[in-house]
Structures are given as C-alpha cells and as structure tokens.
C-alpha cells in the first residue's frame, strides 16, 4: 500500500488533487484507492492536509495518513509551516511545487525530493481562479512523473472526468507542463 499525504492551503485545491489522484490511480490499475480530506473549517490560504491510499486490494483504513510513503506539497512554504515531512517513512518521496531546487529545500537526507514549478505551469496556461493559480490538477503531472505510480493517460482521463470543456483542456495542459518540468 502506498500512503500519500497532501499538504496544501485552503483554496489551492489539495482536496481536489487527492480526489482526482484516486480516480487516476484506479484507472491506472489500483483496485483499492481512498482519498479523504482532513476535516475542518479551513479558509483560503490556511494550511490543510488530505490523505490518499493506493493498493492492489480494497483499503480498510480510514484514518488520516500519519506515516506517509509520499508527501505532495502544493506550496513549498508549507514544508516549514506545516512540518510537512513529519512522520515520513525513511526513504520516502517528497513531491513539491517550488521554483527552488531540491537541495535548497533543506529536507531530511533520506528523503527523495522531486520538484516542479507547478504554479508556473498553471500560470502558463492561464489557469487562474479568483486571482490564484490553480495547482491542484497540474501537480498530478509532477506526481505521475516522480512516482511512476500512475500514467499521464489516466491523469488526463481523471481530469476530463472532473472538468469539462475548456476548463478540462487547461487543466490537462497544466498537468502536462508540470510533468515536463519535474526534476529530482
């Protein structure tokens, strides 16, 4: 089982990301997928988390992920603010939206850090809502590239299931750019 924890901010769409990832993972062949928000009255900008589990058999744990194999960080400031790597399993992977390089982030040595300027990808296709670049779908491109757990085809299918028309196109394009911009 792969345990994934999301770190985002209210309004960035971490919960949406987690949902679409579950769908994409199911489409990629995982029989057991769950995605759940951490429940609370969090506001735009406030740190939030979400939990995703992927496995080959149905998942029976519904508690929040506290010892993740992978964390996905929608905004690099959360690494410090939210103590994002807390509880991570040794050798775990950090997928982070940042303009900085992995070495600059100052994370634990045993962690594999993968970066992508997902905000830049969203801005490149004008994926802006309420003045804020929407990184929620684009980061799935980075996730696919970094982890290899899901295919870009399944990401695209899941995005097109969640959005329609030109919104779907923009989200898919942003995810593709983020995929290309992923670095380790």
């Amino acid at each position: 089982m792969h345990e994934i924890r999301w770190h985002g901010r209210g309004g960035q769409g971490a919960v949406t990301s987690a949902k679409i990832l579950a769908d994409a993972a199911f489409r990629s062949g995982f029989a057991g997928v769950t995605s759940q928000p951490s429940f609370g009255a969090e506001r735009r900008g406030a740190p939030i988390t979400a939990s995703t589990r992927l496995a080959d058999e149905p998942i029976r744990i519904l508690s929040q992920v506290t010892a993740p194999d992978i964390i996905v960080v929608l905004d690099d400031s959360l690494l410090a603010v939210a103590n994002a790597t807390a509880g991570m399993k040794p050798g775990g992977m950090v997928v982070v939206n940042t303009t900085r390089g992995a070495a600059e982030l100052g994370l634990r040595d045993d962690l594999k850090v993968v970066t992508s300027d997902v905000t830049g990808a969203a801005q490149a296709v004008d994926l802006i809502v309420g003045g804020q670049p929407m990184v929620s779908t684009a980061i799935l491109g980075a996730f696919a590239r970094a982890t290899g757990l899901i295919t870009m085809e399944s990401v695209e299918a899941a995005i097109r299931h969640a959005f329609s028309g030109s919104a779907a196109d923009k989200n898919v394009d942003a995810a593709k750019i983020a995929f290309e911009c992923t670095r380790a």
Binding site: A41, R43, A46, G130, G131
Partner: protein
C-alpha cells in the same frame, strides 16, 4: 455629519492573524462595528463565517465578549442575554449585538428574529449579507441574487432575493438601516446611531465575498462600491418609520448621476458568468424599479 475615514477611532478589537479568508468583507466591517460600540458589547453569533473568524478554542480573535449560539437562534439568544443582563442589573454595561449572515438571518433565523422584533427586544441585530451560505461552500440562500450560480443553483438562481430590511421595517421597530462593508464609515455611523436607540435595531450589510462570488480578493471594496453605484445595494436608514437615503446612495440620487449598468457589476464575478442578456435585463428592470421607489420615498418622507 457623516464620519470621515480620518475621524474613525484608531482602536482595534479584531485581532490580526484570524481565520477569515483573505479579503473578507466581514473583517473590514467588524473592525468598525466593534469600534462604534467601543467594545462595550456582547455578541451572539450563529454557525457562520463569523464563527470561523472568531477563532477555534482555546483562542479568540476578537477582543470583545462573544457568545456562540445555534444556527436558528441568534435573535432569541440576544433576547435571552438582554433579559439576563437586565435581570442581573448589568444592562447598562454593554450593548447586545446579534450578528449573523444572510442565511442565518433571512432563512433559518427569521422566525426568532421576527419574534424578537415584534417584542421589540433591546438589542442591535446586524445581518452581514454575503448572499449565500458561504461557510458551507456557497449554497443558495433566500438572499442570493437572481442569476448567481451557487452549488445548489448550478444554472443561476431564478428568483430575486427577499428584501429583508423591508420585512424588518414591517415589524415597526425603531431603526432599520442598509449599509455595505465597502463603506466602513457608513457602517460606523449606523452602528453608532443604533447604539443610542432603545429597542430592536436592525442593520443589513452587504458584504462582498471573494471566494463565494468569484473575484480577486483585492476587489472586495471596489465591488462593494460598484454594487452601490449600480443601485443593487442601496444605503439608507429608516428611523422611527422615516426613510432617508444616506452616503453614496444619497449623492447618487441627489446628483441624478446615471447608475452603473447592472451588467457591468455582474461581469466582475464568476458567479454571474453565463447569465443571458434577457436575465440581465430582468435584473436591471428590477433594480430600476426599486431604485425609483427608494428615491421617491426619500424625497417624500424627507419633507
């Protein structure tokens, strides 16, 4: 005399680092509401965005007494607090302020509010109208404007909002006012005036919401003002039954300056995206009719 920004007291009862969304109109207004009452107040607040602004236990974001109450019960709780303060000889220590959103006031809370108004309970009720259930994710309320898309009106709401200040006026209470969070001085003046009146005072406050209405948070004040310039929101007060336009709405009426077309206002927010021209024309006609009524009433009752 209307207070000017420079005359507003430099006090703060609303503390930075609270949980409200960036650009939330409530914050702008709450600073002046609490200032106008000089902090000598106790608030009753139902489940709403304001609850979130107030903070999670054990830390409060507001430096005034605050009592959280159940969603339908704001006005009844204020009645009880007012009665309790009288019964314990503390009524002169503080103004009782009931503060709830449009859903908490006009939908689920209207029964308790109507009862309290009919009894002319001694408190100030302020409705911050952000035009939908924002705290639960933008579902329609009875005060959501026609055309607005919400998560329960995907094609845009078909009905016009209910006119809550008029409903409150029909109770014959001593003071009813309409204001906007985009005009902090107007908010301040109306709360300060209401503070000195006995009985139930009702203030309705249009309160732009960036996330629910779909606009950049920087535009909260700009859009609040635009709503007044379009005549969608009208600043007025009704004191002992006598109506008068105030502030920007009064100047609009006085100068006869053309109002901003409703279409220009609607175009600023994603919630109105996709509204058909006929629907916009209907809203424009509705606004025109109402505006004419307000202007005529202002001219007639001002004497």
């Amino acid at each position: 005399m209307a207070t000017k920004i420079l005359d507003l007291p430099d006090v703060s009862y609303v503390l930075p680092g609270n949980r409200s969304c960036a650009g939330c109109g409530i914050g702008i207004a709450l600073r002046q509401i609490t200032a106008a009452l000089e902090g000598k107040m106790v608030m009753t607040v139902p489940a709403s965005c304001l609850t979130v602004l107030g903070g999670m236990y054990p830390v409060s974001s507001v430096n005034v007494p605050w009592v959280n109450v159940a969603f339908p019960s704001t006005a009844a709780a204020a009645s009880g607090i007012a009665a309790g303060l009288r019964a314990t000889g503390r009524a002169d220590e503080m103004t009782v302020l009931a503060m709830a959103g449009d859903g908490g006031t006009g939908d689920i809370g209207i029964q308790a509010l109507s009862g309290a108004a009919e009894r002319n309970e001694d408190f100030l009720y302020l409705c911050y109208d952000n035009e939908a259930y924002m705290n639960t994710g933008t579902q329609r309320s009875g005060l959501t404007p026609a055309g607005a898309r919400t998560t329960t009106t995907w094609a845009g709401k078909r009905e016009n909002p209910k006119d809550l200040p008029r409903i409150m006026e029909a109770h014959g209470i001593p003071y009813v006012a309409s204001t906007s969070a985009a005009f902090p001085t107007d908010v301040y003046d109306k709360v300060a005036k209401a503070r000195g009146i006995k009985g139930l005072r009702y203030i309705h406050m249009n309160t732009p919401c960036p996330s629910g209405w779909g606009f950049d948070p920087k535009d909260t004040v700009r859009l609040g003002k635009l709503a007044v310039d379009a005549g969608l929101v009208v600043l007025y007060e009704v004191e002992d039954g006598v109506f008068r336009l105030t502030g920007r709405s009064a100047s609009l009426a006085k100068t006869g300056k053309p109002r901003v077309p409703v279409a220009d206002y609607l175009a600023t927010q994603t919630r109105f995206r996709g509204m058909k021209p006929e629907a916009i024309a209907e809203v424009q006609a509705w606004v025109d009719g109402r505006w004419d009524g307000y202007v005529a009433r202002d001219a007639g009752e001002r004497g």
